[in-house]
């Protein structure tokens, strides 16, 4: 591998190319990756879609990829010409979360393990702002960065077989929202009434890569009211 190249280039399938950066994810790289994707999609019409990881991109092509040396060189040049400073900030979403014990099934247990009071844990969780690194795993699942270090804790040894949709959890260095009922190993500390993925909508997921998320604590009665609005279809989240 040539150390001077900005990223590694793999053709793993005749129509798929993976680009990978040998570094830790951070906001600078995130902004570059967002910018880079726009340039690639504009420049190469054969690229039909790009998916993203923390430090990688996957390029899907509608035809077989040939002239790999030439192609990778073109991509290197585009990447190196990108500004390293953030050009445009993403939107900020304030997501209502109810941390009441009836939803926060593991709040007490996690607080005990972290040597915090449940109130302090919630205070810390809601005071941080989280970056959407990418969306993956399940439809509408946001990979968020920015969990305060004091809230980091390994996942549960035994995953729960059923975590309800909308549950907000902490696992490892991550926090996130379960878009659907699913099994899961994160400590559940609250629940949002807001739907993460609405397949019938033209834009099924409100957030996009590069946006920021804040969790806003709400009471159980506020949760019930918002949940009622969700059921009749009038619940809408606006970026601030």
């Amino acid at each position: 591998m040539n150390k001077k190249l900005p990223f590694r280039f793999f053709t793993t399938h005749p129509r798929v190319v993976i680009l990978e950066w040998d570094r830790k994810p951070d906001n600078t790289l995130l902004n570059q990756l967002i910018d880079f994707q726009k340039h690639i999609l504009r420049r190469f019409k054969e690229v039909t879609q790009i998916t993203q990881g923390y430090v990688s991109l996957m390029l899907f092509h509608n035809t077989e990829v040939h002239h790999i040396a030439d192609y990778s060189k073109k991509l290197y040049l585009i990447f190196e010409s990108l500004p390293t400073k953030a050009v445009k900030k993403g939107r900020l979403w304030q997501i209502p979360v109810c941390y009441d014990n009836s939803f926060a099934l593991d709040l007490k247990a996690l607080a005990l393990k972290l040597n915090l009071s449940p109130e302090a844990l919630v205070e810390l969780h809601t005071s941080a702002s989280y970056q959407v690194y990418f969306i993956g795993f399940l439809p509408g699942f946001l990979y968020l960065g920015g969990l305060p270090k004091v809230l980091e804790h390994p996942r549960k040894i035994k995953p729960s077989p059923h975590v309800p949709q909308g549950s907000v959890g902490i696992g490892g260095k991550q926090t996130g929202i379960y878009p659907f009922d699913s099994p899961g190993g994160w400590y559940v500390i609250g629940k949002t009434p807001y739907p993460l993925f609405e397949p019938q909508k033209k834009k099924p997921c409100f957030a996009q890569t590069g946006d920021s998320i804040q969790f806003v604590p709400i009471s159980k009665s506020e949760f019930m009211e918002l949940d009622r609005q969700k059921k009749n279809g009038s619940l809408k989240l606006k970026p601030s």
Partner: protein, 282 residues
């Protein structure tokens, strides 16, 4: 409409998949054996990726409310129309109130049923493929009605599609190197490309787990995009081949990538079937 009297073991509506929404975490989905789907559709002059019924292990019992034509491809499922045997790979005329019943799969795992004009269940995000959280139902359920297009198609007498027979005993799956293949020690690379692997009972539309383990020491990876056919290896050496309903990102080393042909072949394989990987340059 087609009424589902009994859904079978695992039947679902599938097409060529939901491509273009993967950046939102939506799996590609689609027919596990795309070639068999194409064959079934082509017998009815349908566009080759019209939505079909995918049936796994044991097929359903169906009642047709209107006349139409159908075609079957893939595994043999001992299908009977009003009690009379029908064959794969030819167009079959269906009359109102006909009952089509499937048995157990042999010579493969999955059978495809195309309907003249295609199945017309709601298209969501560009596809009719059923998936939990995307379509109303994640698979075929009892008493559900499957809508299909009304087109006049009269099957030609004796018209059949002849296709090469699948060698189900001795088969090789063509693969390419995954991004992490070169991080494997020589012995592990050798094992991957030279030894025989067996599909474990843990196999579904999402992933096939293999019985044999691969010893490796690839360190922690940042979660990356994956796609159907990506072969991942967990820290304890378990190999899993991601299939059509695979999640869009994953955190395990990606040692191989199965070719499109290889994925279609694997769709007809199941528990205890064994195979070898055949490594090819992209």
């Amino acid at each position: 409409m087609i009424e589902v009297i009994h859904p079978g073991l695992y039947s679902s509506i599938q097409d060529s998949g939901r491509f273009g929404q993967q950046f939102l975490g939506v799996p590609i989905s689609g027919a596990m054996d795309q070639i068999a789907m194409h064959w079934a559709n082509s017998l009815l002059n349908n566009p080759k990726d019209s939505a079909v019924l995918e049936m796994c292990f044991r097929g359903p019992k169906l009642l047709f409310h209107q006349s139409t034509a159908i075609a079957l491809a893939g595994a043999h499922m001992n299908a009977t129309l009003n009690g009379v045997k029908v064959q794969n790979l030819n167009a079959i005329e269906i009359k109102e109130n006909d009952i089509l019943e499937f048995g157990n799969a042999s010579k493969g795992t999955r059978t495809y049923m195309a309907v003249a004009g295609g199945i017309q269940s709601p298209e969501i995000l560009g596809s009719r493929s059923q998936f939990k959280g995307i379509t109303t139902d994640s698979r075929l359920n009892k008493f559900k009605l499957i809508p299909f297009a009304k087109v006049s198609f009269v099957p030609k007498k004796g018209a059949r599609l002849s296709i090469p027979k699948l060698d189900l005993k001795n088969f090789k799956i063509t693969v390419y190197k995954g991004p992490d293949y070169d991080l494997l020690p020589f012995e592990a690379q050798n094992q991957l490309t030279k030894s025989v692997f067996t599909i474990s009972p843990k196999n579904s539309r999402m992933a096939y787990f293999l019985e044999q383990k691969l010893i490796h020491e690839i360190p922690f990876l940042w979660t990356t995009p994956v796609l159907p056919g990506t072969v991942q290896c967990t820290p304890d050496g378990t190999l899993m081949i991601l299939m059509r309903d695979a999640q869009t990102t994953g955190g395990y080393p990606r040692v191989l990538q199965v070719s499109d042909e290889g994925l279609n072949l694997l769709a007809q394989k199941s528990t205890r079937d064994s195979f070898q990987f055949h490594l090819r340059a992209v």
